[in-house]
Amino acid sequence: MHQALYAQLLVGLINGSFYALLSLGLAVIFGMLNIINFAHGALYMMGAFVAYFLLNLAGINYWWALILTPVIVGAFGILLERTTLQWLTGLDHLYGMLLTFGMALMIQGVFQYFFGSSGLPYAIPNLLKGGVDLGFMYLPIYRGWVVIFSLVICIATWYLIERTRLGAYLRAATENPTLVRAFGVNVPRMITLTYGLGVGLAALAGVLSAPINQVRPLMGADLIIVVFAVVVIGGMGSIMGSIITGFALGVIEGLTKYFYPEASNAVVFVLMVLVLLVKPTGLAGRSN
């Protein structure tokens, strides 16, 4: 019985890793661009597919894919931002939501057209195959890697935004982009690169996910609603809120699957409703 509990805990941590990485990217994008990026799930899916293409068409392995995929999909994100999203600056959130929702449907539609709805396999890299017997449970190495690597990336992103000069520019520009420009900082370029960073994080999550979940056009759509709930609970635009909430909700979901499976799909949304009723800005969000 305990093995099953620990197994669900591990599944929860893994899902939490994806929630954290994806909600982090969303929080970065919302914080900087004030855009609720409904295309985020599709970009996560693109990350998985790019890793698949790199391996199967170019023979580029998983390790290089971890570096190249976020750059490639991030560049695509920058192209999207420059050609479409930048025109929505200053407009109501609704326009950004509608545009990115449309983009998500288009991107998913294109991939579904070429690859159908069934999944494509992506092998676990040799170095991360197998598992470790911890005594109380058997830990597949790749899954442990996903959790640790995700945590490292999340902390590194938090550090970049909260503790570096670049992060100070980003945080200041969310409040008063005009004044930051008046100091000599190229804010439009910074916004574009930040969108690329957020998209890159989604793509990185896609690469991590590929060996665990099959590479499918709808893999992002399945996840994105939960990720939005994570962001709402953690606080829109709050970096640490997204990270902690992502991991925590993954674990809560996993534990719910063990103790009361019927509620496991709904538990995240129940928590979201409760948080919205008590603290609408989210657990770590600020009221503007």
């Binding site: 200041a172 409040e175 008046a182 100091f183 000599g184």
Partner: protein, 236 residues
């Protein structure tokens, strides 16, 4: 006073907020080492003039020459990097950043800017409040922080928009001493003020702004002789 070429030369500057025509041909200059004050009632176009110079107001025509370079077609960040430092009326202290981050935020654009030690000598209060959130400072401290952070950048031309607004008399005097000291160190300052009594303690020359145009100008030495006119212009 230095009688060299103007640091800032504004000719026929017109500006618009959307459809609203706010500046109707501003003409003035600021010479090296001067403190020049734009005086006028609320809504006369003083702040809009500063914003037009720094490029925040996008639609502008005319000529704004800074050290001989035309600013009209340049984006905001390029104007700032030429050496134009702007301290806005609302101070613009970032609540997301602590005092130290606010102070260090503006990039150094040229050498010769004040060091942190020099800034703390000018504004001793700031040193004690480095870890505080920017938004938790008093009005006076926020104003000092807003000025201190642009002094670090190396810019020698400062535009200060109503630096004494809403501040207690003792803080106003402190700011006056600070401006006098900056002038003595060779800074060139374009000041916007409604408080002409304060401005008279620091300014070399005044321009009176009304309906987006300069309607009068006089030196500080002529202030007493023009007091009647000034009362009429400012409605005080």
């Amino acid at each position: 006073m230095n009688n060299g070429s103007p640091v800032l030369d504004v000719r026929n500057l017109e500006a618009w907020y959307g459809e609203s025509h706010i500046l109707h041909g501003m003409n003035f200059e600021v010479r090296p080492g001067e403190v020049v004050t734009l005086l006028g009632r609320n809504g006369a176009g003083k702040t809009s003039t500063l914003k037009s110079i720094i490029g925040i107001i996008g639609k502008r025509t005319g000529s704004v020459a800074f050290e001989g370079k035309d600013l009209i077609r340049l984006p905001v960040e390029k104007i700032a990097r030429l050496g134009v430092a702007f301290c806005p009326e609302e101070r613009g202290i970032f609540a997301n950043l602590d005092v130290k981050e606010n102070l260090l935020l503006p990039p150094i654009i040229r050498s010769g800017g004040m060091t942190l030690n020099q800034i703390f000598e000018l504004f001793p209060n700031l040193k004690e409040r480095l870890g505080s959130e920017g938004a938790k400072l008093s009005g006076g401290e926020q104003q000092m922080l807003a000025i201190a952070r642009i002094l670090r950048t190396g810019a020698r031309f400062l535009m200060l928009d109503e630096p004494t607004e809403g501040l207690a008399p003792v803080i106003v005097r402190q700011i006056g001493k600070m401006i006098a000291r900056l002038k003595a160190e060779g800074f060139t300052i374009l000041l916007v003020e409604q408080n002409f009594r304060f401005a008279s303690t620091v300014a070399d020359r005044f321009y009176v702004v009304e309906y987006g145009k300069i309607i009068d100008t006089f030196a500080n030495s002529e202030l007493q002789a023009n007091m009647g006119k000034l009362h009429t212009y400012l409605g005080v």
